[in-house]
Amino acid sequence: MAKPYNKVYTNETGISLNLHPQDVDNHEEYNITIIQEEGHCPVSINIHPEKDSLSKVNVRIFAENNASVDCILSCYVAKDASGVDTDMQIRSWPFDKSRIQARPEMFVLNNDIKAAHGNALGTLSQEDRYYLHSKGITNYKDILKESLYEG
């Protein structure tokens, strides 16, 4: 299996990516982390899976203070790209007064494929918070940010 593509973007003013799984990129898995502490960052990620390719794209977005991120994650499956197996997931953690808007989109022109997508908000439940406090931890945001930095 090809090595995953891992990339952390910090305080960017714009991100535009065109991914070609198992083709020109030679990756199956993409782990893209966006950490925005200030300013606005529009993000456009386009996935172009080739015929019979396998791909998994994970986008993690962390925003704090007054930062904002608008992310569109699009997958384009061409008419001749049968056998594609693709999965794209977005997870967002907005803190303080920040704002994250994230949207996965799929444009599929072939019926013989597998495609999945997800979009989740990473908030802490009351139980999660108690768990962390019971271990002495009150700086969840800092630990999460550090973990995301380290990829």
Partner: protein, 218 residues
């Protein structure tokens, strides 16, 4: 020493514990038994300071009244609870969280030393090789989550260890780690409160037993 006086606890207005009294000396391991719903887990979480439990009565640890302390303050004062159903924390790296746990006990320790020690306890608990790099409890089985809790306790060696069915879901070969941990805490002058249905564990290292029924000691 742990002294619990006339402890009453209720959740959402429902009374769970009704006047528990308990004393434990340094080095003691106390078994808490009782039927399902008798209040065993609630007793441990009340001692730990779970915020949604309304409490009346007193909890004193080593001469300090901790009844009004926040949960995280109790943790930083040596209390440790091994949860029965620990959560998954997406995005949070296991090793980063372990480094943070360990900080309170060894604030001067170098990060590299904490990482080395964490990896060593993962290995001792036979957790998967990539455990330290995973998101916290991500893709973990029930048994692995239990091991993860025990690994944290091994890293800290707490002065008050609260074990809520630490053995359920654990394979036989890992159960000895629970008794080893209890022994280590007791040998260091700590106190252990253990909730378990496992007879072998009950027989292994206990000095006292309390039985709960309808939130009261029998």
């Amino acid at each position: 020493m742990l002294k619990i006086k006339n402890l009453k606890a209720s959740i959402n207005g429902k009374e769970i514990l009704d006047g528990i009294n308990l004393e434990a000396n340094a080095g003691e391991c106390i078994l808490v038994t009782g039927h399902n719903g008798s209040g065993k887990s609630t007793l441990l979480h009340t001692i730990m300071g779970r915020p949604d439990i309304d409490v009346d009565g007193n909890i004193e640890h080593n001469g300090v009244d901790v009844t009004d302390l926040e949960c995280y303050e109790r943790s930083r004062n040596g209390f440790f609870i091994a949860h029965q159903s620990p959560p998954t924390l997406d995005g949070v790296n296991t090793l980063s969280l372990f480094s943070e746990f360990a900080k309170f006990d060894a604030p001067d320790a170098r990060k590299i030393e904490i990482i080395r020690k964490s990896k060593s306890v993962f290995n001792e608990m036979s957790l998967p090789e990539d455990w330290s790099q995973r998101d916290f409890n991500h893709g973990a089985s029930g048994g692995e989550r239990k091991k993860n809790e025990l690994a944290q306790a091994m890293l800290k060696t707490p002065s008050l260890l609260l074990l809520d069915e630490p053995d359920s879901g654990l394979e036989q070969s890992s159960r000895s780690k629970v008794t080893d941990l209890i022994k280590e805490v007791c040998d260091n002058g700590g106190i252990v409160l253990l909730v378990t249905h496992d007879q072998q564990l009950q027989d292994s290292y206990l000095t006292k037993k309390i039985e709960l029924s309808n939130g009261q000691t029998l």
